[in-house]
Assembly symmetry: C4
Homo-oligomer: 380 residues x 4
């Protein structure tokens, strides 16, 4: 009997398994620069609020702009299906756990109203905010043209998994390169997790890529579909695609890593893994200003036949400004995210986000295990 | 002192440690084809209900056929030992945990009645179902001939571990190739977990192989005997044997991976690992129609001297049809298994089960660890 | 700066991380032979009861002999320090957890009585048992001669870590080769965990080696000293030493793996890892006949200044005979240990213990993790 | 599409994942020598009490000296900010968990009083103790000169991460080589975790290096910043730097490994990993004499904007002398640390600390996992 060639599986890594190694040079955190660019738009912090209904509405979008980052308003969420979305959001917040998914399936089956799409965008622009909006691929053509008309600054096409080559009999696949021609504002596409998919998406000419499938706090894709790549590996692979694409085209397409960021340390690791910016959901759902009232859920949760996610009660902790910039007396890493990033850049000797890409990560035993001994003591 | 050559151990993987990587192409889930063939029989879904008394009786066997898969009726279980098996099943369901194994040892020591073998098979056939039945190797000769006579469609020979070469002084070993000659219906043999054992079984001419030792929810083989190979590795190795056998013989012998499938995601991973179909126990024990009344146990549980397994209270959740096809409001992956498979095939760009064999798996930190942070929140 | 050569650490394995792969041939368990030899003594089962005061006294030593294995009576325990040891054992059994170590330190500071050494040995011999006794290296010369005189069959020299080359200023080191000359009965020496230490011990001419430092249920050596090698790796390395020594000398010195065996599956794994026999503590402490009354502790526990271990309440479950041979209705692997071994040998196609050494082990995710999902259900 | 070169991550190890392999020779623990030197100062035990306000004050510094090691008094803690520090320490001890970080932020914003710096140092010297003091880099110039003047024996410069090349616009970076010239007493610098950073620090001429970022019991740097290297790997890498520096310069600069030591076994592992001495925080916070009254926190906890750590209630267990030298009836490794070290050196056949550097470590499943089965039993 000839010896078989066994199939080898590659090891992948999530946040809890890696740690950042300090550099041989350190710099003063105040001298670090956290700027992040999408085409001609420059943001002072590399942080994006997720297109989730518990996180982003007109109000928080304006606030995030003023704080230096931006929010993405989901055009297929409650904001565009209901004239008074807060009523619906309150209903979701109050629903018992056992009934909430069924409620959300009903809530999200109401039609999207074209007029609300325009109104929400204009409200953000009128208040002086950068307006980024998102849609699923199937509705992109229509919603993108409505958005541009209303004055949106960035258009995001987002599904659980998006590729440059989608096969469908029911509708003619969305061709990103055609869309790129038609739409004048920056286009961000996601999510993807692999080198190949990311590279192909970049080659269509779009402006940015969202990275991450599965690891978010409100996401159960990995349980339901078995699909997902841990976020550190996904980010490293897509960063490799970005660097390869830069080499072949001369164009630098930023990647925004999206999913599962819960602490300042996670954000720092996402950047070291190669991300240009980080998309945040659950931590921002904890902000005082957030529409979810301390609740958090993803846009795949309300799927009519195969919901993938849950409403997570994350609680309300602090104003968005304090979550981003502190000061704080909280020691679990959930506040002063930008302060944490600048401090980590300091100990890595990284003056810019691109410098931070060169820092070293090691695989380390998970924090939880390491800290077990004193866990009880800590919670006393 | 000369340096010793230390014995190296190969790493093996179970479901919780791997994740499926999305493809560079995606396709619409509705365009995926999940067909599965055993010789001339074609099934529209690659799902088989296990030969377990809490899962399969005449009624569920007929139902599974209508839904596109098939069930295996165990010819050495309560269905053929008792005229009124439901009475016995109810007794098992009601027994206190501390007494249930002893009760089962007694229940399963009653003799198998030849007439019931025929009656159960004919009942399934009369109702229009595909009838698959199983027996242990020692009773195969007798039960196989009774089954063929009664009209069974598929005969399954199943023990914890089955090989093509069994050494016994007490009875002449079952020779699969001889049985193959004698029995005209497709024969499935299992369970095995290694390349060599699988390849040897295929060479006897049988029609399909069951893969898996140890990981089932109701199985404690690994605790009791120390024997078992995690299901992803077992499936990959036996798939390699199938491919090698196809190359040497031109004949494609499907493998059915069996053991420990608890969520849609597990099924998707089993297929990506190389399985042609998946045998399901505990999740089907949760079906409203299941004979176990929300209880689940394996056929090795009632062993008279060395029981290996336990009765697991899995509860009753939904009709079998909903477990298979949804729609659902449950988000833990235990319902809409076929929808999950088709969606995962979509994100992997796999039009058929054989395409899905080419998708990539990565080793990933277990879901449980990854989700720890929000576990409490989720359960609120 | 030149790149440093980082120190590499070898990975080692314990029971929970490995699983036995079934063979390509299977044999009927009844045809397996579990015999084990130490010089001219042959035992029908490869199982040894540990030299622990909660496990072995005159009564259980006689019983183990009759059941086919043997027990080791510790000559530095309560049996030789007290005329009425059961009184003391009862006191230990009843002591509150917080006070038990201090109590044991006191109990074990009483002097060893020479006359009791002889009496215990003679009592075992009179009842027809094989009599194996043990001592620490420092007391070996005196106790070995008393033992031989009283009729002991096997002498065991046991300390946490024993080597052939011990450096001491306070007493002239025990020279095993000299002892070998002086003592006519088989000598077993332990414990060791590495290839080199095991090989050197074998070269002194002794009759058997005990393998294992740290992993026992009642042992905290790894916490207190940081010292220990997981049992599967320790056994594999010492088995390699045995095989190397056989090659160089033509003499086969059996190794007895000792520490942390809690289930039938662990014993099977220990044998596959290369052990000729298995020493068992905690599982035998559960026997109805055991002197510890359902309590278990090691001989390093009562150390006057640095106790390493704890009294573990293991409870009382079944007669020793049932623990060894069943039948049982317990499904966690703690009973019918020999039945489990013979069944595992069957699925590995191993007719003898030496055949079983050739079976394959794979590294597998720990049972605990794998079974998490149903844990709650199982305990209902 | 060309195959990308995926970025590889190096595996790193913490205490719970490694174990010490006994040697092929053993020696009597009483014959081991645990001496440790910093320039001309020799200590009989390689143990240093941390510069933490719950651990070190004048009283414990004197006591540690008498016991053979030394303590480091933090010159930026409560001892130099308050005339009556015990009042403040009691307030911290009594504060509710939810308020303690905010309280500490306030407490540590009081100014450092120059006169107290001198008084504390003189008090230690007057009582006959070795006086080691520490400061952060920004305050080093001033505090070092005050310290030398007052008679300190060792000066420690300590921050979360310290490098030989710090970039700052706000103050002229501290040049260690200049400081070395100016200050006549031994200088210890830390913390660092990598080969490169450690080697560069040694090249500035300083006398010792502190190793460790992140793993301490009272430290949440890894959660907040994502930064940290598990202690075993950090120690091995810095030991490699020490050995490389010895080769290039002929000067042996000891490394003191600092962070996360909770048991005797951890200390033994730290030494085997290559440390010349071990800095201890939480375990000493448990001493009866400790100023924290059973509470423990790090010097990064009270950071005004981004606190990294928590007050941990560790309780009060025994006098410092008993924690160091026993005897004890505690079996979890938290007492008789020196006894444990000498015993471990004995089983490794190591007569000196430098011999102990040559012992072998293996990667082993974590103690917690291994011991799970009996955990409940043990706690009964």
């Amino acid at each position: 009997m000839t010896k078989p060639r066994f199939r080898e599986l590659r090891r992948s890594y999530g946040f809890d398994e890696v740690a950042i190694v300090p550099g041989d040079v350190t710099i003063n955190p105040e001298q670090t620069n956290t700027e992040f660019e999408i085409e001609k738009l420059t943001f002072s912090i590399p942080i994006v609020a997720a297109a989730m209904d518990g996180v982003t509405d007109v109000n928080t979008a304006v606030l995030m702009s003023k704080l230096g980052g931006f929010s993405v308003l989901h055009l297929e969420g409650v904001q565009t299906r209901y004239d008074n979305p807060q009523e619906i959001l309150d209903e979701i917040a109050k629903a018992p756990t056992a009934e909430v998914t069924a409620l959300m399936q009903k809530v999200y089956s109401a039609p999207i109203k074209d007029n609300l799409v325009g109104e929400r965008i204009q409200a953000i622009k009128k208040a002086g905010g950068i307006c980024a909006v998102s849609a699923m691929p199937a509705n992109t053509k229509k919603l993108a043209s409505l958005s541009v008309e209303a004055g949106a600054d960035i258009f995001v096409i987002q599904a659980t998994v998006t590729t440059a080559r989608h096969v469908s009999r029911s509708y003619r696949g969305l061709i990103f390169s055609e869309l790129r021609e038609a739409v004048e504002i920056p286009i961000i596409v996601g999510n993807c997790v692999s080198y190949g998919a990311c590279l192909e998406i970049m080659r269509t000419g779009i402006s940015g890529v969202l990275v991450g499938v599965g690891p978010g706090a409100a996401c159960t894709t990995r349980e339901v579909l078995g699909v997902g790549v841990p976020q550190v590996t996904a980010t490293m692979d897509c960063a490799a695609a970005r660097d390869a694409y830069l080499k072949e085209s001369g164009r630098y397409v930023p990647i925004i890593t999206d999913g599962g960021f819960r602490r300042g340390g996670d954000i720092c690791k996402g950047i070291v893994a190669g991300a240009d910016a980080v998309m945040i959901g659950s931590v921002f759902a904890q902000a005082k200003e957030s529409p979810g009232r301390g609740n958090h859920w993803g846009m795949a949760n309300p799927h009519a036949a195969l919901p993938r996610g849950t409403r997570v009660k994350v609680g309300t902790t602090a104003p968005l400004k304090q979550i981003l910039f502190g000061p704080t007396s909280v020691t679990d890493g959930s506040q002063n995210l930008v302060g944490a990033l600048k401090t980590a850049m300091g100990v890595c000797g990284a003056a810019t986000i691109k410098d931070m890409h060169k820092a070293e990560l090691v695989v380390a035993p998970s924090i939880t295990t390491e800290g077990k001994f004193w866990q009880i003591a800590r919670s006393t």
